[in-house]
């Protein structure tokens, strides 16, 4: 696992060096220049990193809470599924990044709007994935839960949430990249803090700063995917 990550990172950095050499170090600075800047000027990036992380954290928290609840309800109850499915299937394919300005107009140029954008991006794939995962829980499990005397809450905690955990983690892994991309766009509009703002405000001016922002933003997604993999490995041992 670790070896694969090292190989992947070495490959990306090698390609980056190649681009710096072939294009121009003015537009594509060397990786070591960017990393050196990042470490020596981290205090400059930190407030932007915190702002972006907070928006992502709130967005994912809301999306998880709402998406998992609705997904489970739809997976367990055909009437709820019948009511909500048409709405979800219509809203899911809408290109959310295109709606970013609309969100900012509706909710205002504030953090709440940016969090709502993240929620809007994640929630639909989350609902669809959790609904499908809930549907796939063998019906025998619910009967066994009853014979074991589980309450409804125990069935939810011990059976449903455990059974859907691999799907949930995998959905987070898939949606994190999209969430970061759209959050980047939203931080470009009417914001003065956040990695999106930091990258955009240095674009065409300070390339090393700009690339530092891109690296930090990419690392957020990368680290979240690694964390999901670790949780998958530790908490979902039955699928390993």
């Amino acid at each position: 696992m670790l070896k694969k990550h090292i190989i992947g990172n070495v490959f990306v950095i090698a390609v980056w060096y190649l681009l710096s050499i072939t294009i121009s170090t003015r537009f594509v600075p060397y990786p070591h220049q960017v990393f050196f800047f990042m470490f020596t000027n981290f205090d400059q990036i930190l407030p932007h990193l915190i702002a972006t992380l907070m928006r992502l954290a709130w967005g994912f928290s809301f999306a998880l809470l709402i998406g998992v609840s609705i997904g489970i309800a739809m997976g367990l109850n055909e009437r709820i599924d019948g009511l909500l499915s048409p709405l979800i299937y219509v809203l899911n394919p809408i290109p959310k990044s295109a709606l970013t300005p609309v969100f900012l107009i509706i909710f205002g140029m504030n953090d709440f709007a940016r969090v709502m954008i993240v929620v809007f991006i994640i929630i639909f794939p989350m609902i669809v994935s959790i609904k499908d995962a809930t549907r796939l829980i063998p019906s025998e499990y619910f009967i066994i839960a009853k014979t074991l005397g589980y309450s409804k809450f125990e069935t939810l905690r011990k059976v449903i949430l455990k059974a859907i955990l691999p799907s949930l983690l995998s959905t987070i892994k898939v949606t994190i990249a999209i969430a970061i991309a759209v959050l980047y766009i939203s931080e470009n509009i009417g914001s003065n803090v956040g990695l999106g703002y930091y990258i955009a405000s240095n674009n065409g001016v300070n390339y090393i700063e700009m690339y530092s922002g891109i690296v930090v933003l990419s690392m957020i997604g990368y680290i979240i995917v690694i964390i999901m993999d670790i949780i998958l490995y530790k908490k979902c041992k039955w699928i390993n």
């Binding site: 063998p138 025998e140 009967i143 066994i144 009853k146 014979t147 074991l148 455990k162 955990l165 039955w238």
Partner: protein, 232 residues
């Protein structure tokens, strides 16, 4: 233990159980045999409390069957154990101590599998773990739905040897649905043969709990008699 009077049950307008009446005494060990589609699995699900849309009167321990009950254990053909729990975690759901779990598994020859997940176990081992859970939970009645249908001949005999004597000496009743006449003979005292949603004939097994009877002439004679009736 189980009283059914004039039970009718349909799936999508197809009548599966027809005016079925049956009484199973407390602690009785019963097998239900019959061809595919005769209604034996439907009957088991009705007793279990899954098929509740029936007409007639159905009672378990004197109470009408309206839902799945926690004093009834069940051993399914598939998905009988939670795949996301180890065997030990599955068995500990019965709220007994780890030492009780280990002792029970030792009796069933699966003590070395406690830390494994269900998908790592063979069919026979899974079913023994399934039975261990019902035994640990101290159920008054256990329902077994074709517990050996997915096992090969050797695994089936091994399962019957390890389980039949344990079940025979138990102080609870059980109902096994099976299409295996030999299994019915060694694992139950009473065999109910079903056809077209009703009881066709009943037998009393003198080989109950005697898994070493397979090679005896009398056993095979009775097996053939039941088989003849099965296809009559």
């Amino acid at each position: 233990m189980i009283t059914l009077n004039n039970i009718n049950f349909s799936y999508d307008e197809k009548k599966v159980l027809r005016d079925l009446s049956l009484h199973i005494k407390d602690n009785q060990k019963v097998s239900i045999i019959g061809k595919s589609g005769c209604g034996k699995s439907t009957l088991l699900k009705l007793i279990l409390g899954v098929n509740t849309d029936y007409s007639g009167t159905a009672q378990v321990f004197g109470e009408s069957i309206t839902d799945v009950r926690s004093d009834i254990g069940v051993v399914f053909q598939h998905n009988g154990l939670f795949e996301f729990m180890t065997i030990e975690e599955n068995l500990l759901q019965t709220k007994v101590s780890k030492s009780d779990v280990f002792a029970m598994c030792e009796r069933l020859g699966i003590e070395s599998l406690l830390s494994k997940y269900p998908k790592a176990l063979s069919g026979g081992q899974l079913q023994r773990a399934n039975i261990a859970r019902s035994l640990l939970a101290g159920k008054k009645l256990i329902l077994l739905d074709e517990p050996t249908s997915s096992l090969d001949e050797f695994a089936k005999e091994e399962f019957q040897k390890q389980v039949s004597e344990l079940l025979a000496s138990s102080d609870f009743g059980y109902v096994i649905v099976t299409h295996d006449i030999k299994e019915a003979l060694v694992m139950s005292e009473r065999i109910i043969m079903m056809e077209d949603g009703n009881v066709k004939k009943e037998f009393v097994s003198p080989y109950f709990g005697k898994s070493d009877s397979y090679l005896s002439e009398d056993f095979n004679r009775m097996y053939l008699d039941i088989k003849r009736e099965f296809y009559a």
